[in-house]
Every structure is written in structure tokens, then in C-alpha cells.
Symmetry: C2
Subunit: 336 residues, 2 copies
């Protein structure tokens, strides 16, 4: 049995290219005492990975050349030397871009496929969902009747932000690219409106969608959208800064928005990283799990089959080509 893995071949300069990655074969590893061998079923692809394969200052160590790219995974236990897990169990782990991984059993979360599809542990019930929950509720602190705008609105995080905003009694306005995404956000997810960042008059479109101004802007993107939103924020607006995907492929510092509106409106921009907020996991799972079961919260997955397609899918993610939470199905999902 061999283990196919995707390793970093060279550090991308600007937009990653497929030649920055390489598919290698290795023996399937053997678990030591306390460890578990898992077969990856789903690999999560997320924008933060762009930072992890660069050398720029970030919040976590860079992936070295020749190393497997990091990533959250849902897998099935093949061999366990940890008392709490048995072969056949589904677990949430961090095995990265490979078919098999070994890791300490203590770090794995067991998933019950009867509660929710196991893939959701990487999306709406996983890190992206928790990011939306914490960023919106703890940093954005929306009050009923306020207007919440979120960029990358059809994505794994943005789609949850807008739906929680609706549940909390707010007006939810998305910003997305393609028309189909904007339609999905309004018709399927129940946002009040969604504007396209391709709109030549983005400011006019946002003003029309937010007649009472903007109280919370959940930022995933940066660039022109942020600049435009800042012109429309109300007094004491809150801007949770979750991502700046528009500039992740930039090769140097990028000019940011004029900050004067923050001053005039006494508003805040607060950067955050979900690993600082894991204490919110129980509340998140109770709330979002409940809303999912009640049908008040929907999600969409964009599933790509085959580990070998991960680089191409990741490159597309940075260009906004995915539609919904992007996952690579590395092996068939026996629970589906």
C-alpha cells in the first residue's frame, strides 16, 4: 500500500502554479503507541493555506519545501493504538494533503455520521463555521435591526455569517462575484440582498442594498470592497477582519483603504484568528448544530474528486472559482 501525498515543490511567487506542488508516493505510515492511522476521505481547502506555503510573517510556521501541505481532514480510522478510537470510526483531524496520515489519537474528534454528514465537520460545523460564529457574534456584535454586510458571501465562512445575521434579526447583505453566487445567497440562503463586486458602481449598488447604512462588515476579501464599505459605515460600526483573500497572492505590501471613515464614525477593525477562540466550540456546536437540524441554516459544498486535483482546486479558490465550501474527496465517503 502506498500513500500519495502532495508536497510543496517550491514557494509560490504571486499566484500559485501547479508546478509549485508535487505529487509523491510514500509508504503508508505505522502508528506508534497512542497514535492512529487514518485514511483521508475529505481534505478541506481554505484560503489561509496560501499564507502557510509562503515565507511571509504569519501566525503559524510555514510549510517547508518537500513537506506535505497542511490541512484539515475528515478520515476513517484504519488502525488505532489509542483506546478511544477503533477502526471504522470517522474522525476530524489535520492530516493535510495526503491519502493516509498518522497522528496522536488525543487530537482527533470523533464524528457521528448520524448527526450530520461527516464533510460538514470541515465546513458549516467546522472551522469555517466557527470562524463565522465568533467573528460575527463576538467581534461584530450585531443588534437586531442592524445591517450586516459580508464579503465572499457564498463561501464557507460568508454564507454562515449572513445566515446567522438573519437569525439574529439583522438585515444581511452579501458581496460575491458571479451572478449565480449572488442569486444563491439571496434565494437559497435567505440574505436580503447580494451585490457583485464586479459591478462598475459598487458603491451605488451597496448603498441601494443598505439603505440604513452598514453596522457590521465581516471582511474576508479586502481591496476595493473594503474601501467601498468604509464609505457607507454607520457610527460605531464593527469590522471583524477575517481574511484579505484579494491580496494573498500579492508579492509585496498592498495599499489599504483610507482609514478616515473609521475616525469619523468611531468604528473598529479587529483582526482575529479562530485558533484563539476554541473555547467557543461548545456554544457554536449547540447553536449552529441546532439551526442546521431546524433547517434554518443551509450550506453548499463544492466537492472535487481526487487528491491529485487539490492544487488546481486550491489555485481556483484563490481566484474565487469555487462555489460553496471547497473540499477534495480523497476517497469515497462510506457514510454518504
Amino acid at each position: 500500500m502506498t500513500n500519495r501525498r502532495i508536497v510543496l515543490a517550491r514557494r509560490p511567487v504571486g499566484a500559485p502554479k501547479s508546478t509549485d506542488f508535487s505529487l509523491v508516493q510514500a509508504p503508508v505510515p505505522t502508528p506508534a503507541e497512542g497514535e492512529v492511522l487514518c485514511r483521508t476521505i475529505y481534505l478541506s481547502l481554505d484560503p489561509y493555506m496560501r499564507g502557510r506555503i509562503s515565507e511571509a510573517r504569519s501566525y503559524a510556521r510555514s510549510v517547508e519545501i518537500g513537506q506535505v501541505i497542511v490541512g484539515g481532514t475528515v478520515g476513517q480510522v484504519v488502525e488505532s493504538r489509542h483506546p478511544g478510537l477503533a477502526p471504522g470510526d470517522y474522525v476530524l483531524g489535520n492530516d493535510g494533503w495526503q491519502e493516509y496520515g498518522v497522528s496522536p489519537g488525543a487530537g482527533l474528534r470523533r464524528l457521528d455520521p448520524r448527526q450530520a454528514p461527516i464533510s460538514t465537520a470541515l465546513g458549516v460545523l467546522g472551522m469555517p463555521g466557527l470562524t463565522a460564529y465568533v467573528g460575527l457574534l463576538d467581534i461584530g456584535r450585531p443588534k437586531p435591526g442592524e445591517t450586516v454586510v459580508v464579503s465572499a458571501a457564498s463561501g464557507a465562512v460568508g454564507s454562515v455569517v449572513g445566515q446567522i445575521a438573519k437569525i439574529k434579526g439583522c438585515r444581511a447583505v452579501g458581496v460575491a462575484g458571479a451572478r449565480a453566487k449572488c442569486d444563491h445567497v439571496v434565494r437559497e440562503l435567505g440574505f436580503d440582498a447580494c451585490v457583485s463586486h464586479h459591478d462598475a458602481d459598487l458603491a451605488g449598488a451597496l448603498r441601494a442594498a443598505c439603505p440604513a447604512g452598514i453596522d457590521v462588515y465581516f471582511e474576508n476579501v479586502g481591496g476595493r470592497v473594503l474601501e467601498t464599505v468604509l464609505g457607507l459605515i454607520n457610527v460605531r460600526a464593527r469590522i471583524p477582519l477575517c481574511g484579505l483573500i484579494a491580496q494573498y497572492n500579492a508579492t509585496g505590501a498592498v495599499a489599504g483603504p483610507d482609514l478616515r471613515p473609521l475616525l469619523v464614525t468611531r468604528s473598529l477593525i479587529q483582526g482575529f484568528i479562530i485558533s484563539d477562540h476554541l473555547d467557543r466550540l461548545p456554544d457554536f456546536l449547540a447553536d449552529v448544530g441546532g439551526w442546521l437540524r431546524e433547517g434554518r441554516l443551509k450550506y453548499r459544498e463544492d466537492i472535487v474528486d481526487g487528491l491529485e486535483r487539490a492544487p488546481e482546486a486550491f489555485i481556483g479558490l484563490l481566484e474565487g472559482r469555487n462555489f460553496g465550501k471547497l473540499l477534495v474527496r480523497v476517497a469515497p465517503d462510506p457514510a454518504r
Copy 2:
């Protein structure tokens, strides 16, 4: 008796010019019931006034063409129709750029010249001091041992920020322009270091002055200093955004800093305006008044004589030509 007043002649485009202001004469006004006539002794000149004479969106209404420019004043009561005030009393008011003003007595704060020089009610014990106090302590929340950087460090606000930071057990680092200002900030005010924003290697100078990175950056200026500071902030840094004087004369939107460091470090930028925080006045007066009396806090005033020189002094303020809290002495100070 005539009242000389400076009114807005036209809205400045870019840097204000002396021809944007005009000196006019009017009769000295008469107080109605409940009102007080004051003779202005000191007029405060502050950067926020640039916003008030422009049409741009701001937190307060613009001064109209032909109106007296707004401004905080310390004056002496000439005639009182308010029971709490008598002729000869010194008061803090908002009579603006004129020699005499009438206003409701209820809005005036009586000053005791035995407690502190009356001019300090416009500086270290007034709005600039309160701005420093609230911005640093409530938004910056410095902890002992942390590094606090403040721009416009020799100015009315910045000088208080750094000194309070020292009192709170922090390392205080200023950023100023002229060498004489940097020297003053270190030698007279007791900052640990001060770098010049004219330094070709500003990043290198700041890094040397902040060997443990930057935890709080009190922002008065914007532009290159903010950009450079963001490259040096520590995890969970706090940036109270008090002013952006470097761009107040700009004729359009100004590119801001790359916000990526906020994300990587989970830091916040929080705009604030002192009028939202007047509930902190009693604590401020007790603390800062006490530190002044104990000699732990120093201040420097830059006093210009004659109302007619207010426009020129204000133009200089926006270019950083003042050295310390800028005041116009409109009439002799009988208490000094």
C-alpha cells in the same frame, strides 16, 4: 466696543491659505437671560478644526461660509445673566475664533486659577489631555512592561499619552518631526526614546527603539508612520485611532496601510472621538490633575499673540510647525 472675529471666507481646497479666512468686526453681543458674555483670553487651535471647515462627512456639522470658526476658549466673564457666574470669573467655553462670545452659562466650566494655569483647561487638563487619557487607557489598555508608541509625540495629545504610558509602567516611544521635538520628548517629558519621521530608515529606527515590538500605537498622524508601525506590532496590539493629521489637507481619498498585519497579529484599530467619552472627565481630572501637581506630568505650550494670527498659526499646526499645545492669546491673561 467692537468684537473682532475670524470667519470662514471660503472652503479650503488642500492646505488652508490665509485668504480662506477673514477678519471682520461686529458689535460685542449682549447676553440674554441665562447667558454670559465672555472676553476670550485663550483660543485653542486643534487639528480637528480642519474637518470642521471642510464639507467632507465628519462627526459634526461644518462651519458655513461667513460663520465664526469653532474652537474651545478660556475667557473671563464680562457680564453674566446666569446665577452661577459673576464678572471676573474664568471659564472654559466654546466661543470660537473671536474676542467676545455669548453663550448659555450652563455650558461653561468655571476655572480656578489657583489650581492650575487657566490655559491648561485647553491642553493638558482639557480636551487634548482627556483624549490622551481615554484613548490610551480605555482603548489602548496598556499593561506594565508593554511598549507604547505615539505619533505627534510633542503635541498636545501625544505628549500626555507618552507620559501616562510611563506612569503606567510601559516603555514609551515617541515619533515626531524636528530633532528639537524628539529631544524634548525624551529629555523633558521622560519618554524612553523618540524617532523622527524624517528618518530615511524609519522602520530601522523604530525597531531599534522598540526591541520588544509594539503593543499599543496611539495614532495621531497616519501615512507612512502608521504603515511602518504595522510592520512591528505584536500579537493583540491595540491602535487607538485619534487623528490622521498627515492627510487632513488631502483633496481626495488617501491610500491607507496594508491591513494584513492586523490579521496576522489579531490586532485592532479603533477610531474614537472624545465627545463620546465625557463620562471619564472626573477620573481624568483627578488622575491627571494629581500627576501634574506631583510633577510627574509636564506640558509645553506654544502661544501665539493676537487673534489676527490664528489663521497663520492654524496653517502651521497642520504642517507640524507648532511645538507643544498651540494656543492663541487673544487678550492678556490676568491670572498669569
